[in-house]
Each structure stands twice: as structure tokens, then as C-alpha cells.
Amino acid sequence: MAEHETHAGTEAPGGAHEGGGAFPPFDTTHFASQLVWLAITFGLLYLMMSKIALPRVGGILKDRSTKISGDLEAAKAAQAKAEAARADQDKALADARAKAQAMGQATHQQLAAEADAKRKALESELNAKLAAADAQISDMKTKAMANVESIAKDAAAAIVQQITGKAADPQKIAAAIGEAAKG
């Protein structure tokens, strides 16, 4: 009975299999229920996939790729920032070094000028003192010489009076002493 209802291809397996009825895959008695349940399950599956699962997975994949590219961008920006900061620091360092050098030079020059001025002042002071001392010496010398002259006059007058017995001419003595002092 079943063999007549089923497909043309059933004779061989159906016949070889004794007493078991039609070859099950070609047995039409269950076709309707299989189709009904296939429609139900596949329809539900299609709905689940197209409405929930696939948009969600697509969203996840998109989110991930945007996150990755965003992170890469952020990393690049951070790197650029670090580079700029490094350049800034280098510049600041160079500036500071130049400034320090300039300051050192200025201080050095100022100190040298100050020292020079002090030295000059000291030198001039010393020179003035030296000059004063020289003047005093020569003054004292002339004074002493003057004393020597008067002593020599007195002595010469006394000697001349002793030898000659008469007072010597003071004019001549003075001239003679002046000559001797020159000699």
C-alpha cells in the first residue's frame, strides 16, 4: 500500500527491506507534519536571526572596529602630544642654558669691571700717598739741607775767624758753600 503512494525511487530499498514498509525518507505519510514543523522552526529561526541576532552581531563588530580605530587615533594623538612636549622641553632647556650663559658672562664682566675700578682706585690712592710721601721727603731734605748750609756757614765763619783772626765776609762764605754744595 505504502509502496504505491511513495516516490518512484522507493522500490529498490523498500523491496529489499522486508516487512518494514516504505523507505522512511520517501514515506509520504509524514511529509505534511515535517513541512509544517519545518515552516514553524525555520520561520522562527529566520525571525530571530534577522531581527535580533544578526543586527546585534553586526553592531558588535562595528563597535569593535570603531573602538579600535578610535583607540589608534587617540594613541596617535597622544604620541604627537608627547613629541610636542619633548620639543617644548628641549627648547626650554636650550633657552635656559643660553640665559644662564648670558647671565654668567654679564656677572663675570660686572665683577671684572668692579674689580678693575677698585684696583684703579686703590692704585690712585697709593700713588697719591706715594706722592705725598715723596713731597714730605723732599721737603724734609730741603729743610735739612738748609740747616746744613747754615751750620756750614757758621762753621766756616768760625773757622775763618779762628785762622785769620778776623770776621769773614758772610757773602763770600755763602758763595763758597754754595759752590761746594754744588760740587
Partner: protein, 252 residues
């Protein structure tokens, strides 16, 4: 007789009613086939909906599997049917996952293989070809018929070529359904037969010493069947894409 029962390789394809159900004169009884269709649906939904519910940036294992399936099918559709084919992506994805899960769950010993039923594979093929026809005529109108008229053919040969094109188009639902059905059927029968050999040899006295031979064969066959299960699901999906591509771009 009892021994023959143990190696009956057809028994696994039997459909057993779990409870009767008739809706408006249509037999909608819940059978073991219905049960396994529900299991497939639940398994795919668990993977694709529950597995991705965390929406992790760094995926969990289940989410990674769901993403892999998504990207695999998406790239298959995009490579075969172009970006315009992506409107059929949910359909191809559901089809691929249903066939894949059916093939893989069917390999579990004792399980029923939904795709080993010609009515199921034929229903899928009819759905695909129907979709191709409806979409092709809706999108391109009569221009869709250019599918059967390749350009650059000598006018004298044209009638033959058109005839061949029409026959090959008409054969598509049959080849598509029979390929999957026959692969599943043959693989499962072979596994069952070798399994029967092991059982028979163990109960056959002295010859029992050679029972490892069919056992090794069954292990190798199982690996092969695993490959076939995945490959046939992929073939089914990629042929669907190829046929849909004809509907999207009918000119050769």
C-alpha cells in the same frame, strides 16, 4: 531476526509520532523530526542570541563563535552575490546555520538527522528557487529571462543553448536537494553498517578478534562525515548565493 534488527541501517530514518496533532485537516503531528527541528532552532538561537547578549568588545568564547559564523557567511554572500546580495544575508545565514546544525546534531549517536529527509531538503530548495524566481521577476521583469539567453552565442545555436539553460535551471531544485539528502543518508547508513559489523563480530566467537578493523573504519568515517556535514552546509549556502546572484544580476 533480532540480530538483523541491530544492523538495520534504515531504522534511524524512521519518523515516530510523539503526539498526534491535526490543525484544519493538516497533519501537524509532533514527531522526532519536529523535536530535532526545535532542538536545532534552540541551539542556533542560544548561540546567536544568548551568546552575544553580553556585547563584549573582547568576545567570550560563545560570542567569538557567533561572530565567526556571522563573518563567514557574510563574506560568502558578499563574495558570491556582491553587496546587493547582502539583503539576503539573514536568509542565507539562517539556511546555513539550520543545515549545519542539522548535519552536526545528526552525527550524535542516536540523534535524528533532519536533513536526511528529502522532503526537508526539497522544501529548502523549492524555497530558494521560488525566492530566485520571485525576486528576479519583481526586480528585473521580463529582463530576468535574459538569464537563459547568454550573450555572444551564434544565432543558430541559440535555441539549444536556451533549452539547456532552462533544463539546468529546472534541475537546480532537484540537484540542490538531492545532493544534501543523499550525502546525509549515505553517510549515516555507512556509519550504521560499520557499527553493526562491530556488534556482530563481538558476538561471533573466534572472529571477534578482528572487531577493531570496522571500529577503526568507523572512527575514520566519522571524521569524514564531520567534514561532509560542514562541507555540505557550506555548499548549500554557497549555491544559494550563486542562484540568488542570478536573480540579482541576470545578465551573463
Amino acid at each position: 531476526m533480532a540480530e538483523e534488527q541491530t544492523i538495520d541501517p534504515i531504522h534511524q530514518f524512521n519518523i515516530n509520532r510523539i503526539f498526534d496533532l491535526h490543525v484544519g485537516g493538516v497533519d501537524a503531528s509532533f514527531t522526532n523530526a519536529s523535536l530535532f527541528m526545535l532542538i536545532i532552532f534552540v541551539a542556533i538561537t542560544a548561540l546567536m542570541v544568548l551568546g552575544t547578549s553580553g556585547r563584549h568588545i573582547v568576545p567570550t568564547r560563545l560570542q567569538a563563535a557567533a561572530e565567526m559564523a556571522y563573518e563567514f557567511v557574510a563574506s560568502t554572500v558578499r563574495d558570491t552575490a556582491g553587496t546587493a546580495g547582502m539583503r539576503f544575508f539573514p536568509f542565507v545565514f539562517s539556511l546555513f546555520m539550520f543545515v549545519l546544525f542539522s548535519n552536526l546534531i545528526g552525527l550524535i549517536p542516536g540523534a535524528f538527522t533532519v536533513t536526511s529527509q528529502i522532503v526537508v531538503t526539497f522544501a529548502f530548495s523549492a524555497l530558494i528557487i521560488g525566492l530566485v524566481l520571485v525576486y528576479g521577476f519583481w526586480k528585473h521583469g521580463a529582463h530576468f529571462l535574459h538569464l537563459f539567453v547568454p550573450s555572444g552565442v551564434t544565432p543558430a545555436l541559440l535555441p539549444f543553448i536556451v533549452l539547456i539553460e532552462i533544463i539546468s535551471f529546472a534541475a537546480r531544485p532537484i540537484t540542490l536537494s538531492v545532493r544534501l539528502f543523499a550525502n546525509m543518508l549515505a553517510g549515516h547508513i555507512t556509519l550504521k553498517v560499520f557499527g553493526g559489523f562491530v556488534a556482530m563480530l563481538l558476538g561471533a566467537g573466534v572472529s571477534a578478534v578482528i572487531f577493531p578493523l570496522p571500529l577503526i573504519a568507523i572512527i575514520l568515517l566519522f571524521a569524514l562525515e564531520l567534514l561532509v556535514a560542514v562541507l555540505q552546509a557550506y555548499v548549500f549556502a554557497i549555491l544559494t548565493c550563486v542562484y540568488l546572484n542570478d536573480a540579482i544580476h541576470p545578465g551573463h
